[in-house]
Amino acid sequence: MSATSLVLIDILKYTVAAATPLLFASMGGLFSELSGMLNIALEGLMGIGAFFGMAAAGLSGSLMIGALAAVCAAVLGALLMGSVTIRLRANLFIAGLAMNLLSGGITAVLSQWWYHTKAVVAFSIASPPAIFPEFLHAIPLIGPIIFTQSSLAVSSWLWALAVAAIIRRTRHGMRIRATGMNAAAVAALGFSPDRSRMAALIWSGIGSGLGGYALGLSISAFVPNIVSGRGWVALVAIYLGQRKPLWIAASCLLFALAESLSNYIQGFSTIPPLLVLALPYAVTLISLIVAGKKRAAGY
């Protein structure tokens, strides 16, 4: 195999792996978007998931316990946000902003308190186990790209499938979608739009928690800036994917590709890596503009 194709395979392999946290978070965030709530706290919830997940995994030595802790912590955060927004009628955006701030603050303070450092906290945790048998790696192309992925990456795709099934095929999912389409009708038909919204926020907590945990596992550590904008990218992926699970997954891959490319391009100075990072935002903006309804100009 030529050197370029090796590099390409490496990039694609990294892409699929990097898409894992995005898939978790964006699919969770899809629920809140479908219920009519623009949830900008995915970033902060991911951070919380990363910290508490890694801490629990490090403490217990079990990856599953880590995952559970990540989910619980992020869901608690989502509940806080949800209660303030839905019960106390707070502004959703500001509550989201506050959540993001809170996440950064709490993780830094706890990191200092428990691990006596605000910088990298390394955990000696086993990496998520490989799930595909070794012999599959030899299959040309998809072998090295897909079958070398860990169980974590595979779970993220299973999660995506599960979310797609829930929103399309279950009563619960339909009610959440209906709340986003016509909350007044939902209320008039005897159901509570607020309950659906709270449920949607909890789902986004689950997704963000797992996404943050995945980030932590990928470097076996927790760093203050571990999320680094991926929560926003997940939100943007929901928009770019026009709220359809398949397209959202594709958008996650696109952004993961951008991330992979920018890592590789460090070596070559032709395309500035920073600009490559900006590309996904630009793509989303353009797609929003094109999809936007032309308002009657003037007034």
Binding site: M37, L274, L275, G292, A297
Partner: protein, 344 residues
């Protein structure tokens, strides 16, 4: 203002301030070895000498200027989430201009040019979001955030690339010569005359809002869009204009930082100010004059946090927790002030 709603807003405000201060004490009690010492560091040290006090005031300046812009945008129900990018890019443009002009002009002209350049940069970027909302129905909240994310990366690229100071180990542009920096007020702190600019802007905005036609029309746009149209007010003009104004103030704040305490444009120097400005605007509860105490409060939380970090080793990130809690309280039932999402 009916007496009923202003009572509620002052209750919210005192709750927000009160709880965050109480929380501060709790955090200090939990994490510090010496509680009373830490308490002193947080609450008293910022005022203890000219250096600390001046720095604390200086931190409030960009918060006040940007917060004012966010407040005005809120007035017309526009949410500018792109402050980080607008401030950062305003700073860069101002910095580049100042470095270029360098020896050629006298300091005053340089300051004016840099300030105007910074403000224009921020205004154009924010106005883009306003226009996208007016003509394509794109939420200005999302577009301003996306544009800001792009802009931050672009500015980072320029700083670390073509504009990098070859003589420095940090990722930064070259430094401005000392004589071109804004004159300091409270030596040895970094406080400079930009504080006066901030106060002047706040006073001017307060007067304009209360007594000019533009302020009146902006108020109507924010209260009832249909009524505004009935009165013949171009809501589109005010949407774009309010965003542009808020972007201009962000850009100006960035410019003043560069020709002031920073003296150069270091990568990430302004990270977080954009978000804090939103907190400031909310704490100001719709009043321009309120921006000053709000900025001072947020800057105080930051100064106190820094002091306890130095003094007791508590991470300065507690300010994030404090700000978050204050925001939660302020926004609960903040219905009349800020737009709620249409479908909620």
């Amino acid at each position: 203002m009916s007496s009923e709603s202003s009572l509620r807003s002052s209750t919210r405000l005192s709750l927000a301030v009160g709880v965050s201060l109480a929380l501060t004490c709790a955090v200090l009690a939990l994490f510090s070895a010496d509680f009373w010492g830490a308490l002193g560091q947080f609450f008293i040290a910022p005022f203890s000498n000219r250096y600390f006090f001046g720095n604390f005031l200086a931190d409030a300046v960009p918060l006040a200027i940007s917060g004012l812009g966010v407040l005005i945008a809120f007035r017309s129900k526009n949410f500018n989430l792109g402050g980080e990018g607008q401030l950062y890019s305003g700073a860069l443009v101002a910095g580049i201009l100042a470095l270029r002009l360098g020896q050629a002009t006298d300091p005053l002209e340089l300051w004016i040019a840099a300030s105007v350049a910074g403000a224009l940069t921020g205004a154009l970027i924010a106005a883009l979001s306003g226009a996208l909302k007016a003509y394509r129905g794109v939420s200005e909240l999302i577009s301003s955030f996306l544009i800001s994310a792009i802009v931050v990366n672009v500015v980072d690229f320029f700083i670390t690339g073509p504009l990098q100071d070859p003589a420095s180990n940090f990722q930064t542009t070259r430094q401005l010569a000392a004589q071109f920096l804004l004159p300091k007020i409270l030596v040895p702190s970094k406080l400079d005359i930009s504080a006066c600019v901030a106060l002047a802007l706040v006073a001017g905005a307060a007067v304009a809002a209360a007594r000019t036609r533009i302020g009146f029309e902006l108020k109507i746009c924010g209260e009832n869009e249909e009524f505004a149209r009935y009165c013949g007010i171009s809501v589109v003009r005010y949407d774009v204009g309010a965003m542009a104004f808020s972007g201009a103030l962000y850009g100006l704040a960035g410019a003043l930082l560069v020709i002031g305490p920073q003296a150069r444009v270091m990568r990430g120097f302004s990270s977080g100010i954009g978000w804090s400005a939103i907190s400031v605007a909310l704490l100001a509860q719709g009043s321009e004059l309120g921006v000053v105490p709000a900025a001072l409060f947020v800057a105080f939380l930051g100064a106190g946090s820094n002091q306890v970090m130095i003094g007791s080793g508590i991470p300065s990130e507690i300010i994030s927790i404090l700000q978050a809690v204050a925001l939660f309280f302020i926004t609960a039932q903040a219905l009349p002030r800020v737009r709620r999402r249409r479908k909620a």
